[in-house]
Amino acid sequence: MIRERAGSAFRDADAILAGHPGAAEARRLIAEAGGRFTERLRVALAGRVSSGKSTLTNALLGTELAPTGALELTFNVSHFRYGDEPSLTVHFQDGTEPRRSDLDELARMAVRASDHDPAMRDLLNRVDHLEIAQPIPALLDFDLVDTPGLDSSLRGDSANALRWLGRSAEEVGDLSDRHASQADALILVFDRGLASSDAELLDDFTGSGLSASGPVTTVGALTKVEFYWPRHDDPLAEGRRVAESLMSDAGADRLLFQLRPLASLVAAGAGLLTPEQHADLVSLATVPPETLRKYLRRAPHFASRELDGVTVPAQRRATLAARFAPFGIWLACGLIREGCADPTELRRELLDRSGLTAFRELLLGHFAARADVIKLDRAIQEVRLLPAPPPPDDGGRQDTINRAVAVITALAHQEHAFQELTVLRDHYAGRLTFSAAETAEILRVLGEEGSSPAERLGLPADSKPDALSARAIDRLDHWAALEQEHAHSGPSRTAIPVVRRTYEILLDEVSGDDA
């Protein structure tokens, strides 16, 4: 397994460095990079200020953890990870020992920050990020990192809050950048795009330097699509139309693996559905649909007026509207009318219809399935940056470091998974010149459409092992022949033996099942 081989490479490197006191710093950094490899995959959310990152974070967590309350706290990077005991750890920029406390500390910090407590300011000023641990099942698959925003131009209230903190917008932007680029994978959050053209919207991200890893490690979320309703009966469909245009016309496909529309408010609301809200929704579902629709398309009236045939008090309707957006209420009432009255079932349906379930699956399939490769890739990149120009008399220290680094970077050449990654990157960067059919085949066999052998071979899920082997052999022949032909040049020529090798490994795998 790649994980074991990588682990052993890191141990070897450590052994090389162990006898050299001058290489202590390099040893520490390599150990850190290796350590990261054993941790959970780290997925960061990045996007412009107010693009709905925190709402999406809450939706993905299925609960409200992101500190959305006090403005002063939202300037921090929040790292959410699984932990049996809920806890908050404050990490500092100046290397001060991290401070660990219970999770209620977060609320207390928020209050003190809102009160502009000077001691709190001094503390917040030094914060690098907040680490929040919770026993939430959603965090078993990957850690989530919510960043304050790429847009360093924070104004108005935000500017005041920043002034109080003594932080600059640039600093916050840099912190966001750093944490986003340290993550293994990235979710780029677009709101519906207040930009002249889609291309401009993409510029926000391409200019940020975050796109270096490209579609292999980046997916996009088009949030707030619930506001397309009631102009569009199916806001998710409209969202898909917009997403498709972004991907194809604006070239987001060079940046993102996929761009998915999300009714993020609906999803976050569903995750936090209370019994009272559920009861209110059930009651609202008894209003004739066309009447309800009329009420909902005037949200301010829905939240404040007496409405014929509605028993839920205005105050509670206001809460519902704020939590779910009018579309969420409309969707929930429709589901309840169709018999989906049980809270658990309703929550699940809402998560499905808001696009969140599919989005989670995308994250799991795309990131989690190749987590090891992604993480190793990152570790290697970090280690590669290590060697500094050797000082004149370092007693062979640099040479030692170089040897240790080589042990690790060699993995990139030895591990087939890496070569696959290179092929994928070349594809997304537009460097491959294969036919459309061959391109589709490459993406498929490299697991971009699912990781099971049947999916990778483009066969039905219930295919017999014989059929799988037969297809694998057929494709293996095809790519082996291409390799002989020297039909391509450059990255495409390099890609051919990789794909051939992938089929060989796959053939082993399906034949192994056979045996």
Binding site: G193, S196, F227, R231, V242, S245, A299, F302, A321
Partner: protein, 681 residues
Amino acid sequence: MSTYDDLRAETLALFAPVTTAAETANADETARRLSDAHDRLADGELTVVVCGEFKRGKSTLLNALLHEREELLPTDTLYATRLVTTVSYGETEQITVTLEGADGVPERKEISRADVAKYVTESGNPGNVERALLLEITSPSPRLRSGVRWVDTPGVGGVFAEHTAVTMGFLPSADALIFVSDVTQPLTESELTFLRSASTAAKVVDDTDGSIFVLTKVDLVADYQTFVDSFAAKAAEATGRKRDEVTVVPVSAHAQQEYLTGGDEADRELGNFDALETALWTVLNRRRATLLLGGALTALDDAAAALLVPIETATESLRRTTDEELETFRTEIEARRRRVAELPKDQARWRGELKEEVSVLAGTLKRRASAGLDEVWQRFNTDYVFQERFLDQPDQLIGQLSSDVAVVVGAVNELADREAARILAEFAASSSLELRNPRFPALPYPSVPSVAVTGSLGEADRPSSDVRRMRETTFGAGTGGAVGAGAGAGIGALIGTFIFPGLGTAAGATIGGWIGSAVGVTAGAATTWKHSGEEAKKRDREARRRSIKTELGGLRREQDRHLDEAIAALRVELVKSITAELESRIAQEKESIDSAVRRLRRSQAGTEQEAAQRLAELEAERAPLDATREAVARLADQAAALAGPSRTPGDTGTGAGAGTGAGTGAGSSGRGRAGAAGDRS
């Protein structure tokens, strides 16, 4: 209370009897002046510019305001309007697109409604390969009848530098500015930058601001009030105004459309378009409606008064019973005739005085423009170079600077327009010319008609040849090299030709050239920069900041040079226009007094009985003129009431304008010109 529409209709109706009287009296100059004044009111447009970031719902709002359910302006989730589009009244629907011709001279082309999206939207016309500059729509919609010209603009983000510059150039001459945002997404940085830039115009002109902030899509959000409050606070901060001076109108264009279709009062209430229209007309009435009405009413009163002189003279002569009395009267009239006849011969003297006045004004304009530019560059130094997006994409920064300059230039043009009106009025009264002067102290001074309209100058003196020459000079300077000329020429011509109509035509072209070349120069520079920018990434912001400051240092000098040229051109044109207007007035006066003299000669003989009959005839002759003057006086009061309670000029500014607070004592009656007047004292 009467509306602008009513007053306009009533005023227009007053022209017929006076024109008939002028024709009967063979008062050609008076008839011509009446006809011009009539046309200026009839064709006079109230320009409302709709601005805001892309996808905020500007086009949807405009469709709703015009009661257009067929989507006169295309709207779609996918694409954004990316061309300046004007909508105004016309007998038939006609859609014209202006394309940039090969030599930079705009070419107009009529298209069908189905083709609109092809030119206006990004997806229909990616990268603007069609080189479209402007889209003009005329529609027979009754909503457009009162002469409002709506200008729908592309977003304010500065991506299409040229179009943003056009938008900004429009602003100062706009009679109202509707800034559109929505309650589902907070204000963006580019929106705030836009608001800051736009507020420069108000300072240069020293005017009460004409902007209305509209927050759309309130139907989608349950509690939008919090949003409105926070928006108002940010808008006030950006424009340097007090919180209560910012009018924010929350609306829903979709609820309004629902109301128009379904008639449900709840939709009307949520749509809140009544409040929007009220806010809009308050601004329009205050800023332009009174000016347009005042111009027509003044012209009517002038004409009626001029036509009354011969009638009154004849009446008076019949009333003089002794030969001695009659002789004295004749001597008086003859003396007046001689004085008026001398006026053209005095030209050298009063022209000298006029040139002096205009040169003082040019100084004021120059100071105001410099103050405006200072503000722009201060913003550059303290804000723009600290904005990440500008450091990353210097071409956007250039676009922003060009837009800012466009605002200043537009504002100078607008200020010149107003100041020219003041000079004309004051000059006529105080110079060696003793001309009749407008009698409506509550209304603004009527604008100076452009030379092209006045038509009393020889063909050779018309400004068109000037325009061409100026344009060639400006573009020929070629500051931006080939790229500059290419990117700048079209926009310069566009601004010169379409955006500054009337008075500022020559200056408009110069100014257009200036903006154009600024866009051009910098477009060239940006290409190099973008490249180096990508390499440097964001590693060393401070170094990039320094390099940007150094590279753009030259632009400021360039702007100053263009500014001098523009103001020089404006100065020539102002003298020309004011002279033409004064000459026309002298001609009218001469016509009037000559006619009086002729009548005096004819009305000598006769019995007492004949005299009584003649007096009765004269009484009948003057009746419609008297009635007109009475009606004019009444309408003038109503028009003044339209403007609402008088405001102190300059009280909304932040004191950045050169003359803020200095000019309230100039004794002028209208608004928005006191500051400049103060500069002179």
